[in-house]
């Protein structure tokens, strides 16, 4: 950040088991989002390593990391981060469009569309497929983001303050979606939040303070 180097994480050592729902709780500026981004290979640590399925992520080429991010990880962000020019269906299918080249995508189009419709339907969005993000509520946008994250059947779902921009009731709805994913599909979820009540809904909670996990 800024012009100089600012240490954010000061020695973090964490293991995440398959099927686990882990919450990392901490105040703003504690480094929890930075940790999440590093775990999801969105950002690179200055020292240290991340191992996923026995592979050290940051020894791999950028293109390979991108492939893992596309096929094995899914991201849900606090501010949804949907592409404004694409409709709900297209946003949900974005990860699949990145995964497959044009010719292959066209050959799998109907299967992929079916999967996207199924996911969106399970999230209560089947009546919004042609709408664009600016026509949706906050909760609907976050559900589209979750659909996008699930499109490629990720091994790990990373959620960065998924309820941070929502009111309590809508936030609760989103949490119920994540819990359902965890319970029904044994989805591995790593979530960061500043809200203790939200964090407590995970299997395990770690507290981040001044760049360290407690």
């Amino acid at each position: 950040m800024g012009e100089g180097e600012l240490p954010v994480l000061r020695g973090v050592d964490v293991s995440i088991a398959e099927g686990e729902f882990l919450a990392i709780e901490g105040r703003s500026g504690s480094g929890k989002s930075t940790l999440l981004h590093i775990l999801g290979a969105l950002d690179e640590p200055t020292t240290g390593s991340v191992t996923f399925e026995n592979r050290a992520l940051f020894t791999l080429a950028q293109t390979e990391r991108s492939r893992i991010r596309n096929q094995s990880f899914g991201f849900v962000f606090q501010f949804y981060h949907l592409l404004p020019e694409l409709n709900v269906m297209q946003n949900a299918m974005l990860a699949a469009m990145v995964r497959y080249r044009s010719a292959e995508f066209r050959s799998k189009r109907s299967t992929l569309r079916e999967r996207a419709v199924q996911i969106l339907d399970s999230l209560g969005l089947s009546h919004r497929l042609k709408h664009r993000p600016n026509q949706l509520s906050g909760g609907e946008r976050q559900r589209v983001a979750i659909a996008r994250a699930l499109m490629n059947e990720p091994r790990v779902l990373f959620a960065d303050e998924p309820t941070g921009n929502l009111d309590a009731e809508t936030g609760g709805q989103i949490m119920r979606v994540l819990e359902k994913l965890h319970q029904e599909r044994k989805q591995t979820i790593v979530m960061v939040t500043h809200d203790r009540t939200i964090a407590k809904r995970a299997d395990r909670v770690l507290v981040m303070k001044d760049g360290r996990l407690e």
Partner: protein, 476 residues
């Protein structure tokens, strides 16, 4: 799949990019219209000059001409690949129409009957070709300087006992005020074929050192036709007369004199200014020029060993290089300048795409977060530039095709609506603006437009590719 989808979405939704698309379109159209008009102009020049000339020309610069042309003609005609050889005389003279309108003119003496079969000069003649064609009639097979049988010439030159023996003359149309009216119809001046012209020429030989020695020789001619070659600069000051008549007036006929050293009679053969030579299809012109040159120098050496100026043997283009090179250079220069101006479009694309990359920083972060590579992100913006170039280039091609196709109608409309006349026959050689397009030129210009647009997109694409996804997601 995301790359073409996002390119199309951004093209449709980001309307600022349409500005760069319009810039590409206008630059493409501008370059194509200019290349087509100037290229067409050059081709028309070449075609018209070509139609008035042989394939090879033998000539000596200046007005003195060269001797031995009859011997050269006989020898050249025997060479393989040679079709026809015809002599011409070219000089300048003072031309006065009906005793009242003096003009300095280029005078060409030719055997019109032979020339009719030699090149397209016959097609430039108004009375003996163009007028019958316009009337749906068949023109005479040969053109001639013959007087019109139904004109009482004695009445129009009373006091001239040789009125009916005067030779015929063909004049350039503009010399006698022949032009197209606003409806495109040629106006033949009334009484044209009852007009006579006095032509004074100056006999000049290689020994002439003073204008006093070249005392003008007058002759009187009847106007029997007008030439409209569409080469205005040629038509505006040219007259054509019988070869034999001009040769006599210029004292270029065979001349016998006594050599002071040997006291013997020496005959200097007749002179002409040019030999126009046509060749048979498939003949190697360069080789033939070399052979003819050997023969010409041999004969010139025999009759004019002390001549200062050599006789040249050249292809017709080289002889007309003065006109053609000027147009060629103008075309190249204007094309280069317009292409330079088109760099503005490249810069515009760069600025607009750079702006879009900044605007789309967060989107780039999103795309990278779902696993797109840096190369994939760069491909979006390079593809965006390519699409702008392709669509703009094709639209520009369409606009250019319409403009070029209807350029004369547009010009006429501008003249009627605003009094704006850009293409003046007095300045330019032709009375119509060239309106054809070369397909290969179109392809090249559109391809260059596309490549230029991609070049404009390179730096923005690199910036997009290098964005850190986390920082991009935080961008406001």
């Amino acid at each position: 799949m995301y790359i073409p989808l996002l390119i199309l979405k951004y093209l449709r939704k980001r309307r600022i990019a349409w500005v760069s698309l319009v810039a590409v379109m206008l630059c493409t159209a501008m370059v194509l219209v200019v290349i087509s008009v100037m290229g067409g102009w050059l081709e028309m020049f070449k075609d018209k000059f070509r139609g008035m000339s042989g394939d090879i020309v033998v000539y000596r610069p200046g007005f003195a001409g060269f001797a031995g042309y009859e011997e050269m003609t006989a020898d050249i005609k025997k060479m393989d690949g040679v079709d026809q050889v015809l002599p011409l005389i070219r000089t300048v003279g003072l031309w006065v129409l009906n005793g009242r309108h003096p003009e300095g003119v280029q005078v060409t003496g030719l055997d019109l009957k032979e020339f009719s079969k030699f090149n397209r000069f016959r097609e430039t003649l108004w009375r003996q070709y163009q007028k019958p064609i316009e009337a749906g009639q068949k023109p005479p097979a040969e053109a001639s300087f013959d007087l019109l049988p139904d004109v009482p010439y004695e009445i129009f030159r009373p006091g001239d006992p040789q009125a009916r023996q005067r030779p015929g003359m063909i004049v350039g149309g503009p010399l006698v005020g022949m032009r197209k009216d606003k409806d495109g119809k040629v106006n033949e001046p009334g009484g044209l074929y009852q007009c006579w012209a006095k032509l004074e020429v100056m006999p000049i030989s290689s020994e002439t050192t003073s204008i006093v020695d070249a005392a003008p020789v007058p002759n009187w001619y009847w106007i029997v036709d007008a030439s409209r070659s569409q080469l205005y600069q040629l038509d505006a000051n040219s007259v054509y007369v019988p070869f034999d008549q001009l040769q006599r007036d210029l004292k270029m006929t065979a001349d016998t004199y006594t050599d002071v050293k040997t006291n013997k009679e020496v005959t200097l053969p007749a002179r002409c200014s040019e030999l126009q030579i046509t060749i048979k299809p498939g003949t190697d012109r360069t080789k033939l020029i070399a052979l003819i040159n050997v023969k010409v120098q041999e004969i010139t050496e025999k009759y004019e060993p002390m001549a200062y100026q050599p006789v040249r043997v050249e292809g017709w283009e080289k002889q007309q290089a003065m006109f053609l090179d000027a147009v060629e250079n103008e075309k190249s220069l204007v094309t280069f300048l317009l292409s330079l101006i088109s760099l503005v479009a490249v810069f515009l694309i760069f600025c607009i795409l750079y702006m879009i990359v900044v605007e789309k920083t967060r989107d780039i972060g999103i795309i990278k977060s779902v696993g797109a590579t840096s190369q994939g992100v760069a491909a979006i913006f390079l593809g965006y530039g390519l699409t702008i170039g392709l669509v703009g280039g094709l639209l520009g091609l369409g606009v250019a095709m319409v403009i070029v196709r209807y350029i004369n109608e547009i010009h006429t409309w501008l003249g009627k609506a605003f009094g704006l006349v850009i293409w003046k026959p007095e300045v330019y050689a032709f009375d119509i603006i060239p309106n054809t397009m070369d397909p290969m030129t179109c392809v090249i210009v559109v391809v260059v437009a596309i490549l230029s647009s991609v070049v404009g997109a390179v730096l923005p694409a690199i910036r997009a590719a290098r964005l850190n996804p986390v920082e991009a997601l935080r961008f406001e």
